[in-house]
């Protein structure tokens, strides 16, 4: 087991190093970066911000990892967030109790995911095309629900999901951590991990092996939809309102990026949910760092792009056996000297 852990750690090296480097740079830009204090019974500090703000993308990345591992992609998660947020806000304003509101919003995400899954698995549409439909239409649906305006609510039960805390830990972090643990446990304790990788690498061969790949794909997309809905609820609860135009805008790209930074190939196959979550944290650490650095906002995107290029290069260098190669070079040089 320890051999496996070491191997996993070596594989995670580029990501861990990137995260540490970004955190260190953040510290240089802002010496108080690692300070954490209790504010109104809630942990407060930049590090907490990174996790708290990263939580929605972590949740999206969990669902997205499964989709990408199956050699797909879900472009609609941002729009699904907007739908679930809009539904939650509108229903709350209409006076529905919080549990019903949450269930309805998650149910909307489930429906969206099932829609995507049916298009991909049973109608054999390319995932990028299939989910593009909902990416475009979904935001329109959300706007219809909110009638184009920001629906503001003051229901403490719902707001709790965005800004509340339990034992000092902000709810979004708690929810993301819970989902992460749950997802990893399900993937590890059931055969789903193996079967998802299998259809991602070779769907045809998996079907020949007796796998119900259509049903599995449907479940994967449905799960991704539920994750997106959950992220949508958190974001709406955080700002106490549903902004159909902007909620989750472009977050599908952040989620995909998190998965890629985490080392799962867009060509499907081997995946690690934990690493995708780490990818999401890296992205958010970078975003928070940019905010703290005081650089003019015109540089945000360039800085972000640069950091991502460096991470991806390090990752591909590593997967090509670059570290081992370097080590070998050092060894052979050492040998020459003797």
């Amino acid at each position: 087991m320890s051999r496996l852990n070491t191997a996993a750690l070596t594989k995670a090296m580029p990501q861990l190093l990137s995260l540490m480097l970004i955190l260190f740079l953040n510290y240089l830009a802002f010496p108080g970066f690692f300070e954490i204090r209790l504010q109104d019974g809630r942990l407060f500090g930049s590090l907490i911000d990174v996790l708290n703000r990263g939580a929605p993308v972590i949740i999206l990345a969990i669902g997205m990892t499964a989709v990408i591992a199956s050699r797909g992609v879900d472009l609609s998660v941002g729009a699904v967030m907007a739908i679930s947020g809009a539904l939650a806000a509108t229903m709350t304003v209409s006076g529905y109790p919080v549990p019903i509101v949450i269930l309805a919003a998650l149910g909307a995400g489930l429906l969206c995911g099932l829609w995507n899954g049916i298009l991909v698995a049973y109608f054999d549409l390319q995932p990028i095309v299939a989910t593009l439909i909902l990416m475009v239409a979904g935001r329109g649906i959300a706007q219809l629900i909110t009638e184009g305006s920001i629906v503001t609510f003051n229901e403490p039960g719902l707001i709790f999901f965005g800004t509340g805390s339990f034992a000092g830990i902000p709810m979004p972090i708690l929810i993301a951590a819970l989902l992460l643990t749950l997802a990893i446990a399900v993937v590890r304790r059931t055969a789903l991990g193996l079967l998802i990788e299998s259809i991602g690498i070779n769907r045809s061969a998996s079907s020949y092996a007796g796998l119900n790949s259509k049903l599995l794909l449907l479940v994967i997309y449905a799960f991704c939809g539920v994750c997106a809905a959950l992220a949508g609820i958190i974001i709406a609860a955080d700002i106490r309102g549903a902004d159909a135009n902007n909620a989750g805008l472009w977050l599908e790209l952040d989620a995909i990026l998190a998965v890629v930074v985490g080392g799962t190939s867009l060509f499907g196959g081997r995946f690690s949910i934990l690493m995708s979550a780490l990818g999401a944290v890296i992205i958010q650490a970078m975003n928070t760092g940019i905010l703290l650095s005081g650089f003019p906002p015109e540089y945000n995107l360039i800085l972000k792009a640069l950091v991502i290029i460096v991470i991806l290069l390090a990752q591909s260098f590593s997967s090509l056996g670059g570290w081992a190669f370097l080590k070998g070079e050092f060894r052979s040089k050492g040998a020459n000297r003797q």
Binding site: G32, D49, R53, L144, E147, G148, D238, D243, N246, P297
Partner: protein, 321 residues
Amino acid sequence: MIFMKRILLASTVAMAFAGYANAADLTVGFSQIGSESGWRAAETSVSKIEAKKRGIDLKIADAQQKQENQIKAIRGFIAQGVDAIFIAPVVATGWDTVLAEAKEAKIPVILLDRTIETTNDDLYLTAVTSDTVHEGKVAGEWLAKAVAGKDCKVVELQGTVGSSPAINRKKGFEEGIASASNIKITRSQTGDFTRSKGKEVMEGFLKAESGGKNICALYAHNDDMAVGAIQAIKEAGLKPGKDILVVSVDAVPDIFTAMSEGEANATVELTPNMAGPAFDALKAFKDSGKAPPKWIQTESKLYTQADDPKKVYEEKKGLGY
């Protein structure tokens, strides 16, 4: 199932044409961009209200953010022989041909909210827009008066990088505080005009400025970002409106709620009533033949906690913001 009703209602609102009185003395076609923001929705509903007030038959075409749809709608209006055409142009260029067609048909065109780039200014009668630089200036001048000579470090939440309201509202604010050397902008970041980004960026500002103790005021390029930032300030254990002054632009209903609770201090209105002045100019032109000036600037009204924000909220909340 109230929310289901809202969905149904929303879809009817989104229908392309919504006429009121048939026996109107003037028929105006309005090519609206879409309903991409609350302000836009309010502009549409205020236009209807203003038209009804004057007994004008207003036909609204929703272009869903596409210039081609706008051009189609304008051609449709020309074919119907409307008395005037209002356009809220989605982009600045590419209007010459269709406007020439309108001119050919002797239908006056009034631009709302945004202007266009054209080689021939005669193609439209007038443009009714707000002055976004002026909006920023009003906000800056209010802050200069409010802090009255005391040292004040301001953090700024910009709009979307490169967008003209972001550039102009920043410029105007800097002009407004130019004479007050006690006021300094210490941090400025983009919040993309959204609540969630406004909150996230404000969280960063608060951390970077010793938990917010160094911040005396927040200037946000729109109210949505200010609303998000107010939450961040509260979560950091500070009192928005007192520990940190909050001034922003737009005057959407939610900021009046915040003002009535003492959590925001001032907002500068970007009025959704662009159609009203346009109707007035049009009537004057039809009656007397006198062409209005090429640019009609709407009022950039300042609202503070003294302006009975509760009442303003009640007035505004039905407009579809």
